[in-house]
Amino acid sequence: MREQVLESLAGAPRLVEWPCGGRQVFLEPSALPAAMCRLKADGMLLEDVTVTEYAEGCEAVYHLSNPQTLDRVTLHALAATNGGGAAVFPTVSHIFQGADWHEREAMDFFPVTFTGHPTPLPLLLAPEMVDEKPLSRPVDKRSSIFTVMDYSAVVGAPSAAPLIGWEDEIPAPPPVHAIFSEGLPDAPGDFYTRHFQATGEPDRLILNMGPQHPSTHGVLRVILELDGEYIVRAEPVLGYIHRMHELMGQNRKAGQFLPNMGRVDYLHALGWNHALVLAVEQLAGIEVPERAELLRILTVELNRISSHLLWWGAYLLDLGAFTPIMYGFDDRETIMDLLQLATGSRLTYCYHRFGGVSHEPMPGFYEGVKDFIDGFDARLAMYKDLVTENIILRKRVEGVGEMDLDVCRRYGCTGPVIRGSGLAFDVRRAWPYSLYSEFDFTIPVRTEGDALARYLVRMDEMAESARIIKQVLERIPGAAGGHLHPKAPKQDFTLPKGVARGVVEAARGLVAVEVISDGGKTPYRMRLRSPCFSNLSCFAEVSRGTLLADAVSTLGSLDLVIPEIDR
């Protein structure tokens, strides 16, 4: 079988249409840069790179989507791990700059190398742990890729050459800096500072912003090279709150993994809940009753408002306004009380279940939501008068951290970030899931691409979420079914073989949970695509040449949740 597949792939890239969404292209690793060039020229955005280790070698899956035409393409490349060595892929980080971090992350966790990667430093793991490869399995525990996926479909599949063919010259990756071959010069500072210093100009002021800094909102660290107060170079250093959720997903059942989702992004926990249940329901073919879908939408949208409110307050705190966060928390407190009635918890919600939600909300929930939503428009208007129209705020966010669509595409920015740059790309409308297609709401868009645009998009999104909630409240009394489908499996059921990917729009952007199961008790691989990870990856480019204060403003406007970046 393996030989047949390889033989087929050696001829040309193969195109397979899978029911689980989008076109799947199977190709040789060496063909990746050319394919990426073509897809980039087509206006595609690199969502994620999923690397999985099989008995046959490592498979790298590149998820791309076109935020304009809403096309989706998934590239599969399988590279053999020869005799326990590393699987080798060519880097595409010079084509899609967002791939830089994805590749570094994969190199941390798997025995793979991306040849030509300009800065092959550990990203999420500590430098001392670089040889651990935590997601790599012992040889006898590896499953065959053929048990997981219908790889045999590749044989005899039509050629994908028209889709990904590229005639022009493929750009070569930039040269790898000498320190990666010659070793680090002796200098004070930690591993990352020394690398940063060695790759820059000598005798500049190197400043560590974080991991304990008031405006990085958690343990994010950004190394800055300053000229006066202007930033010459910036490099985020991640991994200070890395908890290896993907490994936890592999050693517990999918139902047991559900509570983890609230810890990935503690501000929009229900969005991540939704992504995981979507993936599992897709994989196991589980149906969800209408009432449960409505409850999901209701709680997810409430959670989205509370997340945006916290961002709003914290962002203004970054800009030096101390009071708005208290007003934001006032409303957020009400939402947390309401969600407590529904889900039983206040922050790290775990409400969704495979086939529905865990229980009906406690009495008083719907009335409370109605009261809150009725008063919320007035609150939003007050926020606008009090804060949005303020001249000092305007001067701090207008024209700051400008990101055009090209930047968003190259780095894979999604959510309010891409919507602030002029594209109405929202998963709820792009590939509607749950019952979102049945509701009347608009996707707020701004074309300026600056911090103000992202700010206004989020403010409008809160109003749109409130609109959705109003419609849900009207529908819920007459909705069919209960909170859980009667045929829903037990929550600790064993997943069938296969691959599924749940994609949702969370408060910060496109969230995807990819579940790969070989039919074992626990998933074979659990991949979490975090929007903040990609949104932050553009920071180095966007902040170049700006003032320190503007960098803080830009960082805040990306709405980062550090645990979500590190996972």
Binding site: S215, D318, G320, T323, R396, L547
Partner: protein, 328 residues
């Protein structure tokens, strides 16, 4: 004893010593009061009650804060310059008493009867920025250094429009003696200088916020950008002295502002020291109100505001004042 008797200690010296002691008490009490007031004002602006635990309505909160600060270990950071590091808070706090000396609190209620009172205050107020420089440099911390650099650029820039605005008043009054400036104003608001010099008043107010490093001009300590700016490394009372000096300077700028523009201790119906205190506290409350309402401006914006708007405006105002004086 003979030498002392020869000196014939004059009344002015006795007055000076008594005034310094009284002012120490005044600064201490009002500093504590302002700390409490600031937290309460912040609380009420943010729709929360503010401190409530220590004493009834939390009135002892400032005492608790002070005790905490005093009780903290004094740590000198690695590589810091001991002399500069610990000298800075002292240099920041010491001149504060001098600043109060020429201010006339009520009829005849002043520490030092000095013709150049206004100039004395302005001269010694400049020492604060030297203290910030010492703190920023001595801390051996890059954030503190950036904070000090900002402090220098900001206070040097804002000193100019401040002086120009004050000069307009001095030219009108024909004196730098604070008591005489008050004497030339009447008891009713339309007899105050603010009615004649609204532009100078506006410039002085903006500069007073900027010179005391208060939000929205609190760039030297902008905590979301520079962690805590120049006092990032200061523990316990090192920070406490900076803090107290900041509040004392707030009182000074509002006292000078009240003297120059708001008729000092004169007020409708009954003149007296209460009017002066009332005006000072009204001024301080406005400063607090602004702090808890607005976001922070950016560093280049604050300098642009000064160089491109305030200084030309102040110059024009001064010119207009001179023209008016010459004509009248």
């Amino acid at each position: 004893m003979m030498a002392l008797a020869d000196l014939q200690i004059p009344g002015a010296l006795v007055r000076l010593v008594v005034a310094l002691a009284a002012l120490a008490a005044f600064v201490g009490v009002n500093g504590m009061l302002l700390v409490y007031l600031e937290r309460k004002v912040a609380g009420h602006i943010q729709r929360r009650p503010g401190p409530f635990e220590v004493g009834p309505h939390g009135i002892l909160q400032a005492v608790a804060d002070a005790l905490k600060l005093v009780g903290k270990q004094l740590v000198t950071p690695n590589g810091a310059d001991w002399l500069l590091f610990w000298g800075a808070p002292v240099v920041s706090f010491m001149p504060v008493f001098l600043l109060f000396l020429p201010i006339e609190f009520g009829p005849g209620l002043y520490g030092l009867d000095v013709n150049l009172g206004l100039l004395l205050i302005l001269a010694f107020a400049g020492l604060n920025v030297v203290a910030l420089c010492m703190a920023g440099w001595g801390s051996n911390n890059k954030w503190a250094l950036l904070g000090a650099a900002r402090a220098v650029a900001q206070s040097v820039a804002y000193e100019i429009p401040l002086l120009l605005a004050v000069l307009a008043i001095a030219a009108m009054a024909g004196t730098l003696h604070l008591g005489e400036i008050v004497a030339k104003q009447g008891s009713w608001p339309w007899q105050w200088n603010v009615a004649l010099q609204p532009v100078a008043f506006f410039i002085y107010f903006v500069c007073s916020v900027a010179e005391t490093n208060r939000a929205p001009f609190d760039l030297p300590e902008a905590e979301s950008e520079l962690t805590a700016g120049f006092h990032t490394e200061y523990p316990g009372m090192g920070f406490g002295l900076f803090f107290l000096a900041e509040y004392a300077e707030m009182i000074v700028v509002s006292a000078v502002g009240a003297t120059l523009f708001l008729g000092g201790w004169k007020g409708p119906l009954v003149d007296g020291v209460w009017w002066f205190l009332f005006k000072i506290y009204a001024w301080l409350l406005v400063m607090m109100w602004i702090r808890w309402t607005y976001p922070r401006v950016r560093f280049d914006q604050i300098l642009n505001l000064c160089w491109k708007w305030l200084i030309p405006l102040a110059l024009l105002n001064l010119l207009a004042t001179f023209v008016a004086l010459a004509v009248v």
